[in-house]
Symmetry: C2
């Protein structure tokens, strides 16, 4: 599927339970602003993507050696970026309601703050982000109409949106998180955020993809 | 298994058929020299490691989405580093004799040049690195006694060494390539080479692991 992101934009495909998405969620706004690039937040669920590969859960759980490594790596990466870090006692944590809220607010000015609030709860304070209470708490701390937003996201009309969004991720070839789209190119992993932003802000992309 | 690499050293665990090992093989000598760190070359085979996870080949072959991504990523990474790149028509390429020679010469002054010659043949010129001819050619271009080295590596006494080396990688928790050990810590992937070298050259490591 051909997918072309407009010049000076980056699509940030992330999952709230993904530890490497946490690193990118905390980095992307500042870096994108500096690069003159707009961020399009694209929350989705990794579970159905992994299931399509025949995996019952995260590869960090299915492969014990890689899993053990990942927590060392996260500790070092968070130290490098000076981000708070606490290894979640439950991994991967499900966050379906929070993801529905993020999808609902993906173009709202509060999207970045909401995503960071949920991710800090998971990865800096080891809190249960699957609960309705946690989502309401995060929205209230942003002075948002929490009950109205949660009700909208729990409506029958709203529920298929997340399924469609995750289906779209699959069709676009997204196989992990975080993933970034710039122009017609996919970048995978927090380690590629800088390269993706460099391309998004480059003259080359502007001239080839038009405007 | 506790494994402690001496201060100011980095162990570079690589496989000659691994494309991300290629990036590190071309980068490590210059970066390590600048950091004041000695490189210990540790060639091994990924196949038996992958087999221990129940995989018949590289995850880049087993997962088509990731595989498609990896070749885009390699093209961009090589462009970024200004390294020559041609996608191998056979992947992953077996290079057992070349790996035996690399293990044989791991402490020799020619190890870096030999590894780079084999990897450039595979990843810059799409040549068959499994053949004895290719190994002999690479050794001769380095003005080395090619026939004697190859004969030594094909002797019955030499063959168990590579099996033991790969077994050691497994025991150390190596699950992919390239991997780096610094002090008592494992780093995985070309994207972690800079972090690994920063730790290897740091005062912190020197003071904690003694000398």
């Amino acid at each position: 599927m051909q997918h072309i992101v407009p010049p000076h934009e980056i699509e940030f495909w992330f999952e709230l339970g993904s530890n490497y998405s946490y690193l990118s969620a905390l980095r992307i706004e500042h870096l994108a602003q500096r690069a003159g690039v707009a961020v399009r937040w694209q929350p989705f669920l990794l579970g159905p993507i992994f299931a399509s590969f025949g995996w019952s859960t995260s590869p960090f759980v299915l492969q014990p050696q890689k899993g053990a490594y990942v927590w060392d790596d996260m500790r070092r990466q968070c130290a490098k970026y000076a981000f708070p870090w606490q290894r979640p006692s439950v991994f991967p944590r499900s966050a379906i309601l929070a993801t529905r809220v993020a999808l609902h607010g993906a173009r709202a000015p509060w999207i970045g703050d909401f995503v960071k609030a949920i991710m800090r709860a998971n990865f800096a304070r080891d809190e249960d982000i699957s609960s309705e209470e946690k989502v309401i708490e995060a929205l209230r701390e942003l002075a948002l109409p929490a009950m109205a937003i949660v009700a909208a996201c729990q409506s029958a009309a709203s529920k298929p949106r997340l399924r469609e969004q995750t289906e779209r991720a699959k069709e676009l070839g997204v196989f992990g998180a975080p993933s970034f789209f710039v122009g017609d190119q996919l970048f995978w992993g927090n380690d590629r955020l800088d390269d993706a932003l460099a391309l998004a802000s480059s003259t080359r992309l502007r001239s080839t993809s038009g405007a």
